[in-house]
């Protein structure tokens, strides 16, 4: 084995290792989004009236559609979580999650800009706050951005291990 072959093999190994690493990061991103969306959705489904009230507190959608929006959002969150945990249509699900996250971050920013003091109600709860709202807003938006990063990774390359996508999109016929 001469020097150049060794070099090529090492380069391939490095590439394989980094690919392996990136794959693990994408898998982690998928699971992170799954867990957060599922938790956020299920908590809100536990009290839909409260979820509707929280939406109304943002004063973004008209008061009389707040309950509807508050009832629909958690089910969309859970549906996206289901798709992500199954790894089905990962890219589309990640796009959906990204749209939600951008909307949430924008909503929180808008409330912050209008000088209102509310709890984001991101994971249920919600309500008006007497103080310390700004810190909460910053944390909420930061969390949304981290999750948005995870979604972006999956949109760029949605292939992960343990995903139904690899089953459905690349069936065995390829080898034949």
């Amino acid at each position: 084995m001469d020097a150049s072959t060794t070099e090529v093999t090492t380069a391939a190994a490095v590439r394989a290792a980094s690919g392996h690493w990136a794959g693990a990061v994408r898998l982690a991103a998928r699971l992170l989004l799954t867990v957060v969306l599922a938790y956020a959705g299920l908590v809100k489904i536990g009290d839909l009236t409260e979820a509707g009230r929280t939406v109304a507190l943002y004063r973004i959608v008209p008061d009389d559609s707040a309950q509807l929006v508050g009832g629909v959002l958690p089910f969309v969150e859970v549906a996206l979580a289901l798709l992500l945990v199954a790894g089905l249509a990962t890219r589309a699900a990640a796009v959906g999650a990204a749209v939600l996250l951008v909307a949430y971050a924008a909503a929180i920013a808008s409330v912050w800009a209008r000088g209102m003091s509310i709890d984001c109600g991101c994971f249920g709860g919600g309500g008006t706050l007497s103080g310390g709202a700004a810190r909460g807003y910053a944390l909420d938006i930061a969390r949304d951005l981290v999750l948005l990063g995870a979604a972006a990774l999956l949109i760029r390359n949605p292939r992960t291990r343990y995903a139904l996508d690899s089953w459905v999109l690349d069936p065995k016929e390829r080898g034949a």
Partner: protein
């Protein structure tokens, strides 16, 4: 020979890519359908949650509006609906301004004010349920004909959220501050016969898509009372409706 084999492979690859694209589209459509179905479930549940309750309970307080959905403080052509929760800080903030504006408007006559004491914030007290207890006591005050006065007292003594709220004794004492004399009020606060009606009022409010308190409507149209001058906003809306 080698050339054809490469061609073959290329064609196979192309066919494979085309199949893959088609499957991707189908799978994405399935995903969209799954999300849409979930959204429909949510919308359906909201609708089911917010259907108007059937009949009013048999025991209702005195002085109700005709539809039994609230306490009528005055009668008149222009209807003003006020939805309030005794634990809601924003209700306390706007109470004085709104009461003053309503007094001014009513002095000219022609304004029918209906108060809907809802219990939306029951889980914001510990133990839960202060909103219901306070609303129930306020409705007892309606029996004594002093709902508005009692409301004002309750807001001036509004407890902090996440606390226990006013005790039964304090609720009864607040009645004296509102000028209610007589033992029947105390008995009413203790026995709380109007609990079903408070629930009924909350359900009616939800079916009218009232999600937040305070919500103020003039002739069924919402008035924004979140600004710095809620009284002025209400007065303008009523003046508008009178024309």
């Amino acid at each position: 020979m080698t050339g054809t084999r490469t061609m073959d492979a290329e064609v196979r690859e192309m066919v494979h890519q085309r199949h893959r694209r088609r499957r991707t589209v189908i799978v994405s459509l399935v995903a969209v359908l799954v999300v849409a179905a979930a959204a429909l479930v949510g919308a359906g549940l909201v609708r089911a949650n917010n259907t108007a309750p059937g009949k009013a309970p048999s025991r209702v307080p005195a002085g109700l509006a005709a539809d039994k959905s609230g306490v009528a403080a005055s009668t008149g052509a222009v209807r003003v609906d006020v939805y309030l929760d005794y634990l809601c800080p924003e209700c306390r903030r706007t109470e004085r301004a709104l009461t003053a504006a309503l007094d001014g408007l009513r002095s000219h006559g022609g304004v029918g004010v209906v108060y809907h004491p809802v219990a939306f914030l029951d889980d914001r007290s510990a133990p839960a349920g202060y909103s219901t207890r306070a609303a129930s006591a306020a409705v007892c005050a309606a029996d004594a004909g002093r709902f508005e006065q009692y409301s004002t007292v309750l807001f001036s003594k509004q407890p902090a959220e996440q606390g226990p709220g006013l005790s039964e004794t304090q609720l009864i004492a607040a009645g004296r501050d509102a000028g209610i004399t007589g033992a029947s009020f105390a008995r009413c606060v203790e026995d709380a016969p109007y609990l079903p009606w408070v629930r009924y009022v909350s359900d009616i409010a939800a079916s009218r898509k009232v999600a937040l308190t305070p919500t103020v409507m003039v002739e069924g149209r919402r008035v924004d009372v979140t600004g710095s001058d809620p009284g002025g906003a209400l007065t303008r809306a009523v003046t508008e409706a009178r024309r």
